[in-house]
Amino acid sequence: MTQRITIDPITRLEGHGKIEIFLNDEGEVANTYFQIPELRGFERFVVGRPVEEMPLLTNRICGVCPEAHHMAAAKAVDAVYHVEVPRTGKMLRELLYSAFYCTDHTTHFYALAGPDFVMGPDAPVAERNILGVIHKVGLEIGGKVIQMRKYGHTVVEMIGGRKVHPCTSIPGGLTKGITEEQRKEIEEMGRWAIEFAQFSLKLFSDIVLGNKTYLDLILGDIYTHQTYYMGLVDENNHVNFYDGKVRVVGPDGKELVKYAPHEYTENVAEHVEPWTYLKFPYLKKVGWKGFVDGPDSGVYCATPLSRLNAADGMATPRAQEEYEKMYKTLGGKPVHQRLATHWARLIELLYAAERWVELATDPEITSPNYHTIPTEKPTEGVGIVEAPRGTLTHHYWTDERGVVTKANLIVGTTNNYAPITMSIQKAAKSLIKKGTVINEGLLNMVEMAFRAYDPCFGCATHSLPGQMPLEVTIRNAQGEIVDVLKQFVD
């Protein structure tokens, strides 16, 4: 019997993305569709606005990672005005951004990914959440997680003026600096963050790497795709979140291209499908070949693991050690196993914390020289940062008054739309075989495929990264419901 399966995260009526799986007459997966049901249209309605408002307006694309949009926009408006931000200005922005990264990666690891590993992928659904983790590993860790989030937000507010939707970046720098008292407080919190990151890596090592079942799960084929990888790197080809060039490596780990922000249109294009509101970015020089992996397909990934794959190392000593350890354990570069993304995320957490302290202890960080007044006519500019969930590109054109005439945005999670779609398909295919009964396992596996990417369709729509409630409706060829399976729904 031909079947149709609808997987609705939360439910179809809540606009959070929806998966359709179609089976053929043999009961094998014929095709899968992952649909994004919403469009708000920022690229249209920012036209006509003064360009200095872009870091404020584009914040509202995503309340989960407004810091990323604020920074990409800030860099794009600098470029529009052809103005060089003074060193202190750059450092303040990167300091804010490093603290934000610590908060964001912490939330993801402990609230989202952690439960799968700490509780085990086979644990009852009701226990696979942050409370389950806290019960198992102790209340003390829960307190640390809350502390880390608080510290990160405190720094964001000190430099960015607000906890959500920061407001201080303008063309040429910032509207304010920090005092020596603030600096001291920031440094102290940063040192605590380094310890927290090291603690998190140890926890991962003890619980996950020390368990052969988990290691096999990470290294298994089901979550493996051989794609291109993208990430921002500094002049030494080390991972950088705030600045640098975008480097892309192939499935073989060799550099395909390294491009400056303004060269992105030569390197990335977005494929359109009529059944979803979100576009599918791909590497222009390789080409769109559909939802397939391999060196001939332009599909690429932009995640913590991608950034580590695309770089030659980390710019800070402790993170570099962990970087080497990961690749040694997993058998060299690049790592294609998507579940290793969780490990990579923790290495990035450590890097962000180390960078936080580096910046907070720079003698120039409290300098009042945080803004350069632009003197050139505004024209066009591109800003790129690494959002936690992928390379984030903002591109604006203005008239000579600095009023936006055109805009283009390629947001973090969007980069991974095609690979997520492929991972869903692969998970579906590995679980739905001729005669095989579709069971709870499908939900878990599909959910884990999602989770590795930490998809935040807040950027594209409005779904927060969080538990991914799924509902699978199995229909026959006539569209009648045969069975309904649920997770986090009822």
Binding site: R4, I10, L13, E14, G15, H16, E20, F22, N31, Y33, I36, E38, L39, R40, G41, R44, F45, V46, V47, G48, R49, P50, E52, E53, L56, N59, R60, C62, G63, V64, V77, G161, V164, H165, C167, T168, I170, P171, G172, T175, K176, T265, A269, E270, V272, E273, P274, W275, T276, H371, P374, H395, L409, G458, H462, G466, P469, F488, V489, D490
Partner: protein
């Protein structure tokens, strides 16, 4: 006795309202202690079908954020209205449309066309997303975009309004305290239709910057000057929306050296935000010469956005004519 039920939902929004609620930290435990959280997709297992199955009016308090952009948003708004005794338009999007409401300046086709014809879009056949699309394997569906974005109270009856983009966490905590006191019989709810979790005056009243008599000879751009960190920004010619904007945020942006952009919406008693701001700006222009006044006003490079940045969908205008017409 079972605890009163609490729900929170997002429609066309960014998730920042949810983050602001999570940022009340330990107060979340008060919510947990006093309410049964029955529906809150970000923080707990979603139980949409449970909501549908609930008796009408069985949820005591629902905080609804996000504007009404498509048919799904409207469906959920109506459902939660039916199930809730108290429905709060939570945050700027639900109250007044917020930044996504700026889409109401353009016909919806133009909004979609722009997104699917950007410089990096590879779309030789000019494909547009379709609410229903026939794939070889079957027909698949996505929601239908409405011609204009609407505020929550343009779709259902709303009991209270809580402004802010997002609402400040200390204000959220205060509102939660109030509701708990009401539950304990120690306080009373404000009259229906009130603005809660905000002040009754303007951002200027909370702003610590020094103010003299405001007179300006030109409007300036914040990036093109070194603004005095102590002095009123509007006095320095920076178009700060403080005079028309409701208090409640402790003048957060001006305190950080940035102009108020108006996220707390119209101040108490203001019928139309833009009209109030026009009058506030007009009153500081230091000239009686029509030609000079014109020159000064030219310094405001985006009057439509300046006056209706957060408030377009909720204003008397609601949308530009071409946007309304795009629904015909």
């Amino acid at each position: 006795m079972s605890k009163p039920k609490f729900a929170m939902y997002w429609a066309a929004s960014c998730g920042g309202c949810e983050i602001a609620v999570l940022n009340i930290h330990e107060k979340i435990l008060d919510v947990d202690a006093n309410f049964e959280v029955v529906f809150w997709p970000v923080a707990m297992d979603a139980k949409y079908k449970d909501v549908e199955a609930m008796e009408d009016g069985s949820i005591l308090l629902t905080l609804f954020n996000g504007g009404i952009r498509n048919d799904e948003n409207e469906h959920i708004a109506k459902l939660l209205r039916k199930k809730s005794q108290i429905l709060v338009a939570f945050g700027s999007c639900a109250c007044e449309g917020c930044i996504p409401g700026l889409a109401n300046f353009s016909p919806i086709q133009q909004v979609v066309d722009t997104a699917f014809s950007t410089v990096s879009t590879d779309n030789p056949e000019n494909v547009r997303p379709q609410p229903s699309y026939d794939m070889p394997e079957g027909t698949i569906h996505i929601p239908t975009l409405y011609p204009v974005l609407r505020t929550l109270d343009q779709v259902v009856d709303v009991d209270y309004y809580m402004p802010g983009c997002p609402p400040e966490s200390h204000q959220i905590a205060a509102v939660i305290d109030l509701v708990i006191q009401v539950l304990q019989g120690k306080a009373q709810l404000p009259p229906k239709g009130s603005v809660i979790g905000a002040g009754g005056s303007t951002v200027c009243d909370e702003c610590k910057r020094k103010r003299n008599e405001k007179t300006i000879k030109e409007f300036g751009r914040i990036q093109l000057m070194h603004a005095d960190p102590e002095l009123c920004l509007l006095e320095q010619g920076i178009p700060c929306n403080g005079p028309a904007t409701r208090s409640g945020c402790n003048a957060r942006c001006p305190s950080a050296g940035a102009q108020c952009i108006g996220c707390y919406g119209p101040a108490e008693g203001v019928v139309d935000y833009g009209a109030r701001l026009v009058s506030a700006f007009a009153s500081v222009i230091d000239s009686n010469d029509p030609a000079e006044i014109d020159r000064i006003l030219d310094g405001l490079v985006d009057p439509a956005g300046q006056f209706y940045r957060f408030n377009l969908a909720g204003s008397l205008l609601r949308a530009a004519k071409p946007a309304w017409k795009s629904g015909d």
